[in-house]
């Protein structure tokens, strides 16, 4: 999709009305949308058009017409409903057009949320199967991926949903979450492709989402709950802000230092860079300059990752690895964006037993929330309303100074003594 592509050629991917050459057009004119075929960035409009012209699916023409209409009126025209598959209570986001009298071809345009493999790792066989089924039953439009991690198969009629699902399910695909239950999760690349990974987040992801698969398909809690699994505190899944249960890798012992690689780094980049780009950026001044080299005081290190990021060849996470659990991340509604806060500073996460123990803990946590939460109240909101201490008491978790950035600054409490 280089600058000139959309404007001149009729490539498989960049075809556009305005330039003829395709003969008779299946699509109606969409002059507003066509503006989005210009420019170097890949155009979703071009993609849609190519697909529509090839497959001649009326639903695609309808949805393009409705989108063009929205671009003109600056209003949206979908309303919700409820469609699902046998035995499930969620996973299909139902959309009926509010202007089907005007544009009948996209009267229904439901999305099937599909859980991807942890880490979004694929082989082409999997993806091709998925595409083939989706082209057969649905529109052929899809999103890789939704912000919660789902493959979103966008555009299907209610009549095709069950059969499409059956075909997908046969190939190992299952629906993702929606509604007031467990949601689909996201994992970063993890140990598969990252030297910073402090636990096997892909395996835990699989384990956890299977564990809660019932509550994912049949939502019954106060509100949604999301897992995200980041291999280290760089948090490449945005877990802290975007998930109620942020599982972030960390380590307990000292950072592993490859002294030779440190020397090489300094030789290459100089002491100034060491001071300005590493030492001075450590949030707790845990690193000091010593004889032109660096010395890390492990006691002062808060596992922020910065020095490891800056010197990936020289520094690695310690050997005693595991996870931190942060809870309560969510976006804006009602309380304003809430970052997850550290609840479990450290837990080993190596064996199947470790994972089971973690599942038990999460069960306890969700039970507490189920008992104490209000309707449409995320667990972070419940904790804030009821009190962090009460939450810890309720779940039977230890109090740890790492859970707060400071002790209280007001005397407004009644202790039990």
């Amino acid at each position: 999709m280089e600058e000139n592509k959309g404007a001149s050629a009729c490539g498989s991917h960049g075809c556009s009305h305005s330039n003829g050459g395709c003969g008779e057009k299946f699509l109606n004119p969409t002059p507003m949308l066509d503006e989005l075929e210009k420019g170097p960035w890949p155009s979703f409009v071009s993609g849609f058009k190519t697909l529509a012209e090839r497959t001649k699916k009326p639903m695609l023409r309808g949805v393009m017409d409705q989108l063009e209409y929205s671009y003109n009126t600056k209003m949206g025209y979908w309303k919700g409903g409820l469609v699902t598959v046998d035995g499930y209570g969620a996973g299909v986001i139902t959309r009926y057009s509010m202007i089907k009298d005007k544009i009948p071809e996209a009267a229904e345009f439901h999305t099937m949320r599909i859980q991807p493999p942890p880490g979004l790792h694929y082989n082409t066989a999997m993806l091709r199967e998925l595409c083939d089924i989706w082209e057969e039953y649905g529109s052929g439009m899809l999103t890789l991926h939704g912000q919660t991690g789902d493959i979103m198969l966008q555009g299907i009629d209610e009549a095709n949903v069950q059969e499409c699902f059956d075909k997908l399910n046969e190939k190992g695909w299952d629906l993702g979450g929606a509604g007031a239950g467990m949601r689909t999760a996201v994992s970063c690349a993890g140990p598969a492709r990252c030297e910073q990974a402090c636990y096997d987040n892909l395996e835990l992801h699989l384990h956890a989402l299977r564990h809660f698969v019932g509550q994912l398909h049949r939502p019954e809690w106060n509100y949604k709950i999301k897992f995200k699994f980041s291999g280290c505190p760089n948090d490449c899944t945005n877990a802290i802000m975007r998930s109620d249960l942020a599982v972030i890798g960390t380590w307990k012992d000292a950072i592993q230092v490859d002294e030779v690689a440190v020397k090489e780094w300094i030789e290459e980049k100089g002491v100034d860079a060491l001071v300005n780009q590493v030492i001075n950026l450590c949030p707790t001044r845990a690193i000091s300059l010593e004889d032109g080299g660096m010395k890390i005081d492990t006691r002062d290190c808060v596992r922020c990752m910065h020095c490891l990021n800056a010197m990936p060849k020289a520094l690695s996470p310690g050997k005693e690895r595991g996870i931190s659990l942060l809870m309560g991340g969510k976006n804006t509604l009602k309380v304003g964006v809430n970052m997850g806060s550290l609840i479990i500073p450290f837990m080993k996460m190596e064996t199947e037993e470790d994972r089971e123990k973690f599942m038990e803990l999460v069960e306890e946590i969700i039970d507490w929330w189920d008992d104490n939460g209000l309707d449409h109240e995320r667990i972070g909101e419940t904790i804030e309303r009821v009190g962090l201490r009460q939450f810890l008491d309720g779940v039977g978790l230890d109090v740890d100074i790492n859970q707060v950035s400071r002790p209280r600054d007001n005397p407004y409490f009644k202790a039990k003594y």
Binding site: T84, D86, P117, L120, H121, L144, M241, P312
Partner: protein, 362 residues
């Protein structure tokens, strides 16, 4: 609830959860699983991971429109089959990644991808793809079309995606209502409503659970009432803060408006723990028009911020960290944006944002 249950169904559901991942991993990944030693970024869009074993893995990253099609996915599969033994992955920012142990495959793969229109980049200190949302294409409550805004914005940031000239990674997001499914980012573009919802009293009692809508309001501005003999709701417009939360609960409380639903720009969101603690983002512009199909005002504001950051940020400083050093005063000066009274926090923890010090910048 319309539960489909066709009698002729032969398949019995397996509640399998996520698709398994092991078969998706490249053999070199399996052999070095959990044993990678370090990585380098030999050129924009390319990562080189080296294992403790000495094995090497190259990753080529490319941008996609996120709103994909089966055609497009099959094209990507073709590349993966050609160069990567059939393995690929996606990033959390909708980029696609091709993984191969063969360094010689990198350059031809880049050529092929670019030829197909997929820009290679998005790694290291660049502007990566925009995490965004459904918009008019699919959501039931959007005030705009996220994908269109993103396409327009990325057209202007195409080179910033393909080169590594920023002080640190830049993450963008775009959301079509204030709920902000796109999440927070270094720079976020989010719809901001500016008028209270307009209530369709005829529909309300039929389609809404009244107490749910009442409970949804963060400032208790919604009260039950009776209109034309029917139970309905009314909004205390003096209290209402135009958040649109009620609309999510009750479609008869129409918050969207072709003119009064605007855009706000937010900066300084940071989720990583690197150096400074993660931080929420701050509003720096609002009342920008919702102007399809190219939203030039939004693109312009984002551009100003990036230009100033690119010029003034020090190595490793994320957008928010850069601002903390130079101060908000200079941020507004250098970007030409204007701090105004609405940007003073007035919500629950407002006090904690007051400047409770004599630290002052002139």
């Amino acid at each position: 609830m319309n539960i489909m249950s066709s009698p002729e169904r032969t398949w019995k559901t397996i509640e399998s959860g996520p698709h398994t991942y092991k078969e998706a991993l490249h053999p070199v990944v399996i052999n070095n699983y959990g044993k990678w030693k370090y990585h380098e970024i030999p050129r924009p869009g390319v990562l080189k991971h080296v294992g403790e074993s000495g094995d090497t893995l190259f990753t080529v990253r490319a941008g996609t429109p996120r709103q994909d099609t089966v055609d497009m996915v099959r094209q990507l599969c073709d590349i993966a089959d050609r160069y990567c033994d059939g393995h690929l992955r996606f990033t959390v920012r909708n980029n696609v990644e091709f993984l191969t142990p063969n360094g010689e495959n990198v350059e031809p793969m880049i050529r092929d991808l670019e030829a197909m229109g997929f820009p290679v980049g998005g790694a290291g200190n660049c502007v990566s793809s925009v995490s965004h949302t459904q918009g008019w294409l699919h959501c039931d409550i959007p005030a705009t079309d996220a994908s269109g805004v993103v396409k327009s914005m990325m057209d202007t940031l195409y080179n910033e995606f393909k080169h590594m000239e920023m002080p640190n990674k830049v993450r963008l997001s775009t959301s079509c209502c204030s709920i902000n499914c796109g999440g927070q980012a270094d720079i976020a573009v989010v719809v901001k409503h500016t008028r209270p919802p307009r209530i369709n009293h005829d529909h309300l009692s039929m389609i809404c659970e009244l107490p749910k809508a009442v409970a949804r309001c963060p400032v208790a501005a919604i009260r039950p009432t009776v209109v034309n003999g029917k139970r309905s709701l009314m909004v205390d417009e003096a209290k209402c803060i135009c958040c649109g939360a009620c609309f999510g609960a009750c479609p008869a409380m129409e918050i969207n408006h072709p003119e009064h639903s605007k855009f706000a720009i937010w900066v300084g969101g940071k989720n990583s723990n690197a150096r400074s603690k993660p931080s929420t983002m701050s509003i720096v512009a609002h009342n920008l028009p919702n102007n399809p199909p190219r939203w030039p005002e939004v693109t312009d504001a984002v551009g100003r911020i990036l230009t100033a950051y690119k010029a003034g940020g020090r190595p490793w400083e994320r957008v928010g960290e850069w601002i903390n050093r130079i101060g908000w005063k200079r941020f507004f000066e250098e970007t030409g944006l204007t701090f105004d009274e609405d940007m003073i926090d007035s919500y629950r923890h407002a006090r904690t944002t007051f400047n409770q010090s004599a630290h002052v910048r002139f």
